[in-house]
Point group: C2
Chain length 281, copies 2
Amino acid sequence: MKKINTVAIIGAGLIGGAFGMALLKQKMADRVIGLGRNEARLKKALKLGALTEYSLDYWILGEADLVFMATPVNNIRELLFGIGPYLKAGAIVTDGGSTKAEIVCAANKYLPLYTYFIGSHPIAGSEKSGVQFASADLFKGSVCAVTPDKLTNKIALKKVSNIWKALGAKVVMLSPVEHDKVLAFTSHLPHFVAAAMSLSVIKRDKNRRALTGKGFKDTTRIAASSPEIWAEIALANRKNICASLKNFLLQTSRLEKAIKRRKSKEIVRLLRQAKTKRDSL
Amino acid sequence: MKKINTVAIIGAGLIGGAFGMALLKQKMADRVIGLGRNEARLKKALKLGALTEYSLDYWILGEADLVFMATPVNNIRELLFGIGPYLKAGAIVTDGGSTKAEIVCAANKYLPLYTYFIGSHPIAGSEKSGVQFASADLFKGSVCAVTPDKLTNKIALKKVSNIWKALGAKVVMLSPVEHDKVLAFTSHLPHFVAAAMSLSVIKRDKNRRALTGKGFKDTTRIAASSPEIWAEIALANRKNICASLKNFLLQTSRLEKAIKRRKSKEIVRLLRQAKTKRDSL
């Protein structure tokens, strides 16, 4: 694919840092400029090979052919409101936010007509954050959702999709609204369930800690994610997340009632249904 | 430690098979006899090196110095009712059941006074079952709960603990009742939550499947466990599991309400508390 002259990454953390590392490793970009508010973090990203330079001044965005926003979702919306005047004509703007409907809506509203926004969501994060956990291979074998709508420019859409593919991701295309509905179940729900499970463990004694098996550790791993980032996601995808939590509470209650009433056959039936669904993944 | 002459393993699946493999690998036993109802499975266990011989006839239990029961929990209780007359004087009997109160109670009630029962629960299982997934190293680095009560013989307790330690497990000692209380939270709850989460996913389209990240896969991994085994565990530890599910439902509702009402600070507070608890594992 054609090389990109200048890429700007706003927020060089786990996802932004990995994006820069991967572009540079594959020689897909000449310049990768990091932008942000925290100079120490940008210096670290530069040192780790995620950037070729950095700046604290948004005027440098005028030099970027591609802008990647990899900050928490609320910040992406604020950026979309603010970065318009700095962008050059023809610039392609994309992001790494975990929710898409509000972000695409903000982009359509605030970005100048001579720029092209494509919503992206690389599903490659973990409970860890920070550029120190980034690697050039982070997107290899991962899935990246790309979310066009009616206003999306087809050429820019193709370009952004091709970049994700070149970084090793499988691209899944769907509308921003559909994206948020699906992700509420497959990604956001597990986070809040893991958090609730972690909350429900009463730290009573050393036995409880010693007797915690792999099952508990796996099911609560993502409860260690950043509370601030996930609170933002919760509000940005509120309705879908509440619907998925409601459905989940219903299923849990069904199981609880079956156990309480000693309905052995009903328990087996529910667990078998759960196993069939899980095995089909 | 002193070599055991003859070990009998009832149920040579994942746990029973690994027990035999580990004993034989470390030359801790001369004979390891497999017992069960399914000859094909016993043949497989023999072929895989988990046994030195097998039998379908319970009379052979009279030759065993150590009996290990590694069948589902209901079956362990049935065995305790039935195997008494076959055991030789001084035989040590232990098990690998995931619940302990009912099992230890049945052992105290039914086993002859000239035999010694020690309840064990090696926390080394997975969502897989069958001797084909067993290995001699399964217990290395794992935790094994050993659950003495007032009637437990101290010498037999020491012997069984030493066997688990020799197989690489860290032994945690606690009463059968306390064991079931703790495990309801740290092991049984995650299983039913994973099942409920798997149940709550409505299979709507290919997008949902394509967009399922590592978070969802980890949190539902154990939903693929055997429905029959877990239905038995649910009933054997009914009260504790219902209490833990109730507490979990409460925590989930708190989160759901905070999201529904857009209480950003409350969401962050709950997620932070969850993270602190998870990080402390």
